[in-house]
């Protein structure tokens, strides 16, 4: 057998996006789990150090300070757990947060497969919410089974348009998608504020930029009496199933993967990297647009400035934590949704600042992006064969 040749090197011409793609898609589930554990661990240390009772107990010596710190961590983390999965209401809040996170996460995962880094989730969420919301309050006289799907589709199209543009620019001029999507985020943020002051959009009798109320015929129905979770989570799961097919089973998905892994070989096989880039970014925009739409015709009911609240950026965390896979992205969307919901409960019950959740999220990203750190931390051995991969020629 000649299969004992150690693996050959990856193609030489790699950009940062390609390397990120390889790092994210190549990470093991175990490493990801360890990254979350490490982030929670360091979060606990930060929490213990910043708790007031720890600092007070420090006057009595190191021992009491340690005890006080541990009890602060215990109270905060148990509030976090309670607030995310401790009750039906908590679960409802977790699912509400997870709905948009899953969708914006997928909006990063899809282009990542094609070697593209979509930082534009924020702008795409805004566009989706804006267009979906406008259809929701401006179109009248339709029954819910028509009006609601119409608003949702409109949200997807709005996001798709904002995703298409950087894809088109990259395909046509080579403009880097990271730059153009970031700039579009700002553009959309201010376009939103301007649109919200237009007479047909702004709620009558108000001077601040806030839109009219989405009609009931376009609102996502709540699933349970008295709880905020709505049909958006069903939408998110259905979309995730579609994305699973799209990435892993469709012919276009294979083009995305091939272009992402080796554009030269994809071209040689007759694929069109430029068209694939546009497709990936457009689909990504549609997914983020759906997130914005689900938010506006669901939970919020009207469009406000800043309604996107960094959800597009959270999507990056979700997709990276989900290792760029669809199932992983759904699971990490649920996990970060739980952190979000639990974080609010933690702030209310134990007085721990919500910022800690942001710190934990940021730490997760650091550990995912730097797998070497996690390996060193937990002494995980390098993946099989990696040692032999350091330098390889064409030969054996």
């Amino acid at each position: 057998m000649s299969t004992d040749a150690p693996p050959s090197p990856a193609p030489v011409r790699e950009g940062p996006a390609q390397r990120l793609r390889a790092a994210v898609l190549g990470a093991s589930a175990r490493l990801t789990g360890l990254a979350v554990a490490a982030a929670l661990g360091i979060g606990a240390v930060v929490l213990a150090l910043s708790a007031e009772e720890t600092r007070e107990a420090l006057d009595d010596g190191l021992g009491p300070a340690l005890v006080a710190g541990a009890s602060a961590v215990g109270r905060a983390y148990s509030a976090l757990l309670q607030g995310s999965v401790g009750s039906l209401g908590a679960l409802s809040e977790t699912l509400v947060a997870a709905t948009v996170l899953i969708l914006t996460g997928l909006a990063v995962a899809v282009p990542l497969r094609a070697g593209l880094f979509n930082i534009g989730g924020e702008g795409q969420v805004i566009a989706g919410g804006l267009v979906g919301g406008a259809v929701g309050f401006a179109v009248t006289g339709l029954p819910l089974p028509v009006h609601l799907p119409l608003a949702i589709v409109a949200a997807g199209l709005g996001g798709a348009a904002v995703g298409w543009l950087p894809g088109f620019l990259k395909a046509r001029t080579g403009a880097h998608e990271v730059i153009s999507t970031i700039m579009l985020n700002n553009t959309l943020t201010f376009v939103l504020i301007w649109i919200l002051t237009l007479p047909l959009v702004q709620v009558e009798g108000r001077s601040d930029p806030i839109s009219r109320q989405v009609l009931d015929s376009a609102r996502l129905p709540r699933l349970l009496e008295g709880l905020r979770v709505d049909a958006g989570i069903i939408l998110a799961v259905l979309v995730a199933v579609w994305v699973l097919w799209f990435l892993d089973r469709s012919t276009t998905g294979l083009e995305l993967s091939a272009v992402g892994a080796n554009p030269a070989a994809a071209t040689a096989a007759g694929m069109d990297p430029a068209r694939t880039t546009v497709t990936a970014m457009t689909v990504a925009g549609a997914l983020a647009g759906l997130a914005g739409g689900a938010l506006i015709v669901g939970l919020q009911g009207r469009i406000t400035p800043g309604f996107s609240a960094g959800l597009g950026f959270d999507g990056i965390t979700v997709a990276l934590l989900g290792r760029g896979t669809v199932v992983g992205t759904v699971l990490s969307g649920l996990l970060l949704g739980a952190l979000k919901a639990g974080g609010r409960a933690m702030q209310a019950r134990s007085g721990t600042a919500l910022d800690l959740v942001v710190v934990i999220q940021a730490l997760i990203i650091v550990f995912i992006a730097a797998p070497g750190v996690v390996r060193a931390l937990f002494r995980v051995r390098a993946d099989v064969g990696e040692g032999a991969r350091i330098s390889q020629g064409w030969g054996s």
Binding site: D4, P9, V384, A388
Partner: protein, 509 residues
């Protein structure tokens, strides 16, 4: 310095890459290391250079055991290695690259350019390897980049130089230059381990040849006594047919007609000029030439990877100029790209996906939107068996296969769909002897089925073994084709630009 490796054993999960390998290199000796892809040559050299550690065995230098934890230890002990993929910083100058990590500093602790230049020039002169210390590495041809790598090792006072397939990236002339340098080191008392697939290169440069097969030392023989057939047999483990057995061609109607083809990139710079060429059904037309004389753009233009700026390309009488690569492939053109790592396979994809890559959305492997995994797997299993691709499973990634087996994947993919024209560029580059034999037989078999074959190779042996007609490319222009056989000397002269009438010695062209 005398090197001795004793009982080196390295196990990877599931495989023994090196199984009690013994090897010695005497002072002032060039040891040829020969073996198929996957025989364990690179693993052995990585152990010697400290890139990975052996599970068992010891490394002795002048009789004293050494342990190399990293390349730094190996370099300090006088071992230098030139990898096949160069480890140079493209935007740095030659001097900066050579001195990287050992920079001379001035009194203020800054990089001392003057002393750096002098040091590089002194080393270059001492070993007869002239370079321009101020040239940027990215501007240099591959042969000179390799020279920089060698100087890097020599500057660090390497007494044993490991050259990992050094000729794979070189033109024949550059290879001759390299051999001259190697003889120089030997005369200066240094030793060289020379790794190559090519039997005749071992004959040309090695003093002794050690053959590895499946991780074991098969034997060591003096180069002077080694005969090609014997070496090939040792390497593969069975008798290998080195001469391709083929019947005379029976050419049919034209399949590919290239008329006054021109390729410019960027506009104004002609890469290919005024090329006329016809390839008929059932014949192999070989294009010889030193690399970089327009063969690559010609192949790219014919197969739809590069726009045609002048002339016509006809497939079965219809123009394919301006059509997409996908259309051209589906119209019956098979292409074996010259760089299989870059263009041939997606290393992270499974063998099955790679085998379906050019027909990914064809009805054979999909319903147009959803892929048919059963069809992909079924086809892959059949092809893997038919083409003797050595792999544990069809789900194995292409990147983990040996070079020869990767090339079989590329060839099998093109051969397993209906094609009228096969364009094979460097089809056996970096492939071991056993696989070369197989690939050559396959190409001839394809010809006998009535496919038109355009073969581009920088290996004259390959061109002569396979071609029914032979053309030579020089500076973007095509000379010929002439009916085979054409004498090697005549081809060599035309490759250097000599007029064909003169090169062929008055023979009717």
């Amino acid at each position: 310095m005398r090197l001795e490796l004793r009982g080196i054993t390295k196990r990877f999960p599931g495989v023994v890459a090196n199984d009690h390998v013994d090897l010695t290199v005497e002072p002032s000796e060039v040891l040829g290391l020969l073996g198929e892809n996957g025989a364990g040559k690179s693993t052995l050299m990585n152990i010697l250079y400290g890139l990975t550690s052996a599970d068992e065995g010891e490394i002795l230098l002048d009789g004293r055991p050494h342990v190399f934890a990293d390349p730094g230890d190996a370099i300090a002990a006088g071992i230098g290695m030139v990898h096949q993929h160069f480890m140079l910083v493209p935007v740095f100058t030659v001097a900066e690259n050579i001195l990287l990590g050992a920079e001379p500093l001035d009194r203020l602790g800054r990089f001392d350019r003057g002393r750096a230049r002098d040091a590089v020039l002194a080393t270059a002169e001492r070993f007869g390897l002239p370079v321009d210390p101020d040239a940027r590495v990215e501007d240099l041809p591959v042969g000179l980049q390799q020279r920089v790598e060698i100087l890097k090792a020599l500057y660090r006072d390497a007494r044993l130089l490991i050259l990992d397939e050094p000729t794979a990236v070189l033109t024949p002339q550059e290879a001759d230059g390299l051999f001259e340098s190697i003889r120089g080191f030997r005369a200066a008392g240094r030793s060289v381990i020379f790794i190559s697939h090519k039997l005749r290169e071992h004959h040309a440069i090695a003093d002794r040849i050690t053959v590895l097969r499946r991780g074991r030392t098969v034997g060591t023989i003096p180069a002077a006594e080694a005969d090609a057939q014997e070496l090939a047999t040792m390497m593969v483990g069975r008798p290998v047919v080195l001469v391709v057995d083929r019947a005379p061609a029976a050419p049919g109607e034209p399949v590919l007609e290239v008329r006054a083809l021109g390729v410019e990139d960027p506009p104004g710079t002609a890469l290919v000029a005024d090329v006329d060429l016809t390839v008929h059904r059932g014949e192999i037309v070989g294009i010889a030439g030193v690399e970089g004389n327009g063969q690559t753009p010609l192949v790219e233009a014919v197969t739809g990877l590069r726009p045609v700026t002048a002339g016509e390309v006809l497939l079965r009488g219809e123009s394919i100029v301006g059509r997409s690569r996908r259309d051209i492939l589906r119209a019956g053109v098979g292409h074996i790209p010259e760089d299989r790592y870059t263009d041939g396979v997606v290393a992270s994809f499974s063998i099955a996906d790679n085998l379906a890559l050019t027909l990914w959305d064809d009805e054979r492997f999909s319903n147009g939107r959803t892929r048919d995994f059963d069809a992909v797997a079924e086809s892959a299993r059949r092809v893997v068996a038919d083409f003797d691709i050595r792999t544990p499973s069809i789900a194995t990634t292409a990147g983990s296969l040996s070079g020869g087996n990767q090339q079989k994947v590329v060839v099998a993919r093109e051969f397993d769909r209906p094609i009228d024209l096969l364009v094979a560029a460097q089809p056996t580059r970096g492939v071991d002897v056993g696989s070369i034999e197989y690939l050559h037989q396959q190409i001839v078999a394809k010809r006998d089925e009535g496919t038109a074959v355009l073969l581009v190779s920088s290996e004259l042996d390959e061109i002569q073994a396979l071609s029914d007609r032979i053309a030579v490319m020089f500076r973007g222009r095509l000379v010929g084709p002439f009916p085979a056989p054409v004498a090697k000397e005549a081809l060599g002269l035309m490759m250097a630009g000599v007029d064909p009438a003169e090169a062929l010695g008055g023979r009717a062209a």
